[in-house]
Subunit: 225 residues, 2 copies
């Protein structure tokens, strides 16, 4: 199989049927040997975490499918840590779509002059460019258009889908007594439509329980319990 | 007179008629004694530069007035380095509105993965929060609304006015053989309207002549010649 993309935590291959095969690796992002989903470098390996992230993703992709939301997810081979996905094109060199329900992280680092840590946000959506060297810079709708990364119409679709998807994920977590603060998604373009791609795993979200942040490894266990 | 605001390069007083009196100081931003309009700290004093910036501002405000554009400018007392202005309210804790005709500076630092230094931009407008401690973070239309800094309608007005104003400034400079790359404006809210406030001086813009950037002090001389 031809490797079409090598990521920090996943590799992507091209299947004979034209679809992609995503191989979930045991590498996780972090710094100095400490797992940190917000970090931009591979910090350590945790045996079996690739498979756990795949299982978590399948769990959410199946819920979204039942809700009638189109994603790139086709099927999964959990034993092989592999997911088959539609071969969607990423926008530009890749974007991260963040949906925030409570102000924390980079939102506070940017706008702490205006809002307190933990203050509510109404499914607030923002977009950053995947660019480790530049610290994943924020980009506006106008910026995406000016740089030819995405049309205004595509941006509106991404925002609307993000709000819908994240509300479902938030509700799913709430049923388990978990509080979603923010989550990072990726979208791609396939067959004339904007669809959710990548994974939906613990490392993509900040979740709290009884006011205390839940470690991604524990979170995976709680989601899959 | 009551001092209502102390800025890095200007102080603002309240006049008896309710208007503001802006006192242009000889302090300029920079670092290590070198004048740098993009810096966030007062780096040095240059005798008479406050008056020159006022003269430059009056020059542009008069041109805008003739073009029918409303600004906060009422009159100037150049000898006293003072300008009388309408008492507009700033948005939030102050915003900077940047209009770009060529990609340079922070735009390249953010999006250099997508665009080359000096590439053309079509009066591209973006907004940053005035917040030295946080490096003047970029903010989107949605962010301004979510934080209660500005309504979507006010944002649209600011963008439309910025494009109109900057096209006039660009043309004015072009008549002098000068090429405007980008410029930083401020807007306020007065009498139910969004109007241009602050100053329009050499330190607020990057201007090139024959492909070489023009030093702000030389630029002031060229504008006022």
């Amino acid at each position: 199989m031809e490797k079409v993309y090598q990521g920090k935590t996943k590799d992507v291959y091209k299947l004979d049927n034209g679809n992609f095969r995503l191989l979930f690796k045991d590498d996780v992002t972090g710094e100095n040997g400490v797992f940190d989903p917000g970090a931009n470098t591979v910090g350590l390996s945790i045996e079996g975490i690739g498979r756990e992230n795949l299982k978590t993703s399948v769990y959410f992709f199946e819920i979204l499918k039942k809700a009638g939301i189109k994603t790139h997810y086709v099927s999964a081979d959990v034993e092989a840590s592999a997911m088959e996905a539609l071969p969607a094109k990423v926008f530009g060199k890749g974007l991260e779509i963040i949906c925030r329900f409570k102000a924390t992280g980079s939102f506070i680092r940017r706008y702490g002059n205006y809002i307190d840590e933990g203050a509510p946000l109404n499914a607030y959506v923002e977009v950053t460019c995947k660019d480790d060297g530049r610290g994943d810079p924020l980009i506006t709708k106008e910026g995406l258009e000016a740089l030819g990364i995405m049309t205004g119409e595509q941006f509106n679709s991404v925002v609307a889908e993000t709000k819908e998807i994240c509300a479902i994920i938030k509700d799913t977590l709430a049923e388990k007594g978990l509080d979603l603060y923010d989550i990072k998604l990726e979208f791609g373009y396939y067959n004339g439509e904007v669809i959710l791609i990548d994974e939906i795993a613990s490392g993509n979200m900040r979740v709290y329980k009884d006011g205390v942040i839940v470690d991604p490894i524990d979170l995976t266990k709680m989601i899959l319990a």
